[in-house]
Symmetry: C2
Subunit: 542 residues, 2 copies
């Protein structure tokens, strides 16, 4: 039974599990081989790393060893492996929970003077090493923002709601539901992640096609930096110089602490329906997605799995149901074989309007020789969409490791980028005789391109450090393939510590330097989260 | 008859005029009094300001006195007054026309070493002093980008077209029309302004509701700065750090020269129809605009005039037509009197789709007790939309001066900001016994607010410097009112030299400083356009 207690060393809440189906286990055995040794369940005991002294701060500091353990790393695969196996190189020296922006400013001042590094902490769900404590000669303080939560202002006429940074996804929606409003921002981490984290990492929700990315939602914000306060009031639009909001968006806690964000909200939809369909192949599926987006039909979600991911989805869902072989025979008859790709398309709003939009979706599917599967696959997906991350923990229990990475590409490059990345990921461990299985889906489509999301699986090694090394090898190969293909290092996960070695390829020498200059201006002593974004050292195995 | 020769000391092309109707003249006499002394027609003879020596550059330099005169200032009211009356404090020392980005880089290097200031020049249509030459101890070179024009790449699958910076609006649309595509960016300056200028100033076109602002269209770009080249490839979206594109957008030639932009383009619409309606008052009109935008109906344009602007529009258009008094009597019967507000709403696309969208517009109008006027006012407006700026020159011929300024506000503040600005502008010359007439319309609506566009009129003084002083007094009062109201200094005109004294109020002390730090990094010797954006000196009367 799911509790409200956050798990340490694993995703989400204690009590919640999402075990693999027998079909998935069978699929993994076929694709990557029998499981390796299971990983210890964890969490480990906090390592004996004495807390270094911190200055007296404006808010109380906890140096409780479990609190320090709970705030030493994010939610990447390597973080979970370390927290389960106890191979933890560093803990923060304290965790402090300021109540307001004034306290944040005071704490940053104290820490700057005392040479303490500060890591802002929202939901702690980074999968890029974005909140990880690095063993360092300076003490490290976690600025846990959970007390700065809630909706502080609502302008219903303008559709603007102001939130404190520590507000989680469910708290945002609960506050807005009272006014029949929604933000519509549903990243997979939604149950845990926070407004401040979304802004800091340029988050995109699963329904970004309809509601936009977080940068489309931010009308105004406040950042407290060691060098001062940046208050950017809400603007529908402005031509008054470069957009400083867009400099804060994606700054990953490197420039300052986001202490407030005013977000564009909308009327709460009466209903959300997601339908499924099968397309005869990836090319046809990509055409359908692009046509749907370019048509301007008010869909909120379109998601296309490649053939591998489709087969896995069918192994888990469709094929597991009664009449699976009947379904397969029918699909084969319709020309849908091994290359078939699963499409989900959804819309939110008034029931009649949603129905019309889905009819338009079906027509496009059929024009490309696809088969409409109805609302059942969509209901499945909606029900489980925040549970999928729990699967990782269950697989580690068995001896398999899994992780995801993502990018975005113009439509003309989507198919080629997928092939290049699949090749890079699948081949990364070839030298060591291990296999990597890769799935891909296209989601978050835009008029000019789409995101590509890769899920990969491999076997755990006997030594957790060796499992981490396998993972790091895959990550390096994938990051290199991304920059070589000229596409972005991340569509919505961010840069963090783990993509930072490739960031200069993304932003260019001058672009990276300009951001470093901004960091030096806002945070002259490198007090804030100094190893993300701009620090090129490879910390994948740290 | 309109030619293709740019006029010096006035808007647009030689031969084109847009004289005021007798009704407008009568309206002006009633509202601000009889005209002042007419301004000399101009252009003046180039003043005797010898060109200072420039270093040998990668491209030929013109020091022709007429070329220098044509490139000494933009298209603000004060610029036109100076160019007509010959009161010109400074000319550039040369005009050079590089052929490509490599030449731009070479020229910037030469000028940096030689201590020459460089002003990038696209269409030269700034109305904020954005390209004005300031009398200065350093020589000034105009970097005229007209040779760097045209579409260099097209990716029709992704809907991405790459343009050189000097490409004008008509050239953009002509290049795309061959492929049945459109950019859909139609600022009032469209016939003259350029891709580079749009990007540098965060331009918004009249159909931004449908096509977005220029910052929504920019997928990638290249900037050549004195410190190096910033190449930002096209991205559908990215979470890899702060968005450097958004730092270039709005940089007004202060950070570097935009040498290329890759823009999101769309299918060319079969038709564009704009309809008119009258609403009983501003409040009802604002409700209609907001409801239309929030509904998500695919309108490309919504524009609401306040009662003053409506009366002037009717004085020029409707009332000038046969049966004017009949129309008036009918409207009065429908409850539309002095407070009536003119609404235009338009859509582009397939004919059937456009018709449906306009039906939705009509229904919303009628739900607020408005009267639909049909497509005639819209046809008028579409026909004249790029001619309106010529009116200024004709009024100066008569002895009246006119200018515009604009902002944007959240919906909850739109009405109050309009009142505050109208009061500030109308009262600005009260101490000197002169009257200012102010019109306002709301255009460029967003889900969370809208732009407010003010047009004001006053009498010319006998001395052109005194006319300029009157204008500067109004501008100061308006800029102060904007920052006091907490709204932006500009929705689409930019900051330039003239809004720069108030820019710190817009961006905050830290925000302005961060941008100055970026400028110092990209352009260490202040070579590029040094008096825009970040230079707080008041140059309204220079």
């Amino acid at each position: 039974m799911q509790t409200t207690t956050r798990r340490i060393g694993g995703w989400g809440f204690e009590g919640e599990v999402y075990p693999p189906s027998p079909q998935l286990v069978e699929w993994l055995e076929r694709r990557v081989g029998p499981p390796g040794p299971p990983l210890a369940p964890g969490p480990c005991q906090p390592p004996q790393l004495p807390a270094r002294p911190l200055p007296r701060l404006a808010s109380d500091v906890s140096s409780d060893s479990r609190d320090r353990l709970a705030h030493c790393r994010g939610q990447g695969l390597v973080d979970v492996i370390r927290l389960r196996s106890g191979l933890i190189p560093a803990l923060p020296d304290g965790v402090c929970r300021p109540a307001d922006a004034a306290a944040v400013a005071a704490i940053l001042g104290e820490c700057r003077r005392a040479g303490v590094r500060v890591i802002p902490w929202g939901g702690g769900t980074s999968v890029t090493g974005g909140v990880n404590v690095v063993a360092d000669s300076s003490p490290v303080l976690i600025l846990e923002l959970e007390r700065m939560a809630g909706m502080s202002r609502l302008d219903p006429v303008s559709g603007l709601a102001t939130f404190s940074p520590g507000t989680t996804g469910p708290a945002v929606e609960a506050a807005l539901a009272e006014h029949r409003l929604t933000l519509g921002h549903f990243p997979q981490s939604w149950e845990l992640s926070t407004v401040g984290g979304w802004v800091a990492t340029r988050s995109a929700g699963q329904e970004s096609l309809g509601y936009g990315r977080i940068e489309d939602m931010v009308a105004g914000l406040e950042l407290v930096a060691p060098a001062g306060r940046l208050r950017l009031p809400e603007r529908p639009a402005s031509a008054a110089g470069p957009d400083l909001r867009q400099l804060v968006l994606g700054s990953e806690g490197r420039f300052g602490v986001i202490t407030e964000a005013t977000l564009r909200v909308r009327a709460r939809p009466a209903t959300t329906i997601v339908e499924g369909a099968l397309l005869p192949g990836l090319a046809a599926g990509l055409d359908v997605v692009r046509e749907l987006v370019v048509s301007g039909a008010p869909l909120t979600l379109v998601r296309l799995s490649d053939a591998n991911e489709t087969q896995m989805a069918m192994a888990i869902g469709l094929a597991a149901s009664a009449g699976a072989s009947l379904v397969r025979r029918y699909l084969a008859l319709r020309g849908l074989g091994e290359e078939a790709c699963l499409l989900l398309y959804g819309s939110s709003g008034e029931r009649a309007c949603v129905r019309d939009v889905l009819l338009c979706g079906r027509a496009t599917v059929r024009a490309h020789r696809g088969v409409v599967l109805g609302a059942r696959p969509g209901r499945h997906w909606l029900r489980d969409r925040f549970r999928h991350p729990y699967l990782r923990e269950s697989l580690l229990d068995l001896g398999w490791a899994t992780d995801t990475l993502e990018t975005a590409a113009p439509w003309s490059a989507v198919a080629a980028v997928r092939e290049q990345l699949v090749a890079a990921i699948a081949g990364a461990l070839a030298g060591g005789d291990e296999r990597v299985a890769v799935l891909c889906h296209v989601s978050h489509p835009y008029r000019d391109g789409a995101s590509l999301y890769f899920t990969f699986f491999f076997r755990c090694a006997a030594d957790p450090e060796a499992t981490i090394a396998r993972w790091a090898t895959v990550k390096r190969a994938a990051s290199q393939a991304l920059v070589d293909a000229g596409v972005t290092l991340s569509h919505h996960h961010g840069v963090g510590q783990w993509h930072a070695p490739w960031f200069e390829r993304e932003a260019g020498v001058l672009g990276r330097r300009v951001l470093a200059t901004v960091a030096a201006d806002m945070d002259p002593d490198g007090t804030l989260n100094p190893h993300v974004l701009l620090d090129p050292e490879d910390r994948l195995e740290v």
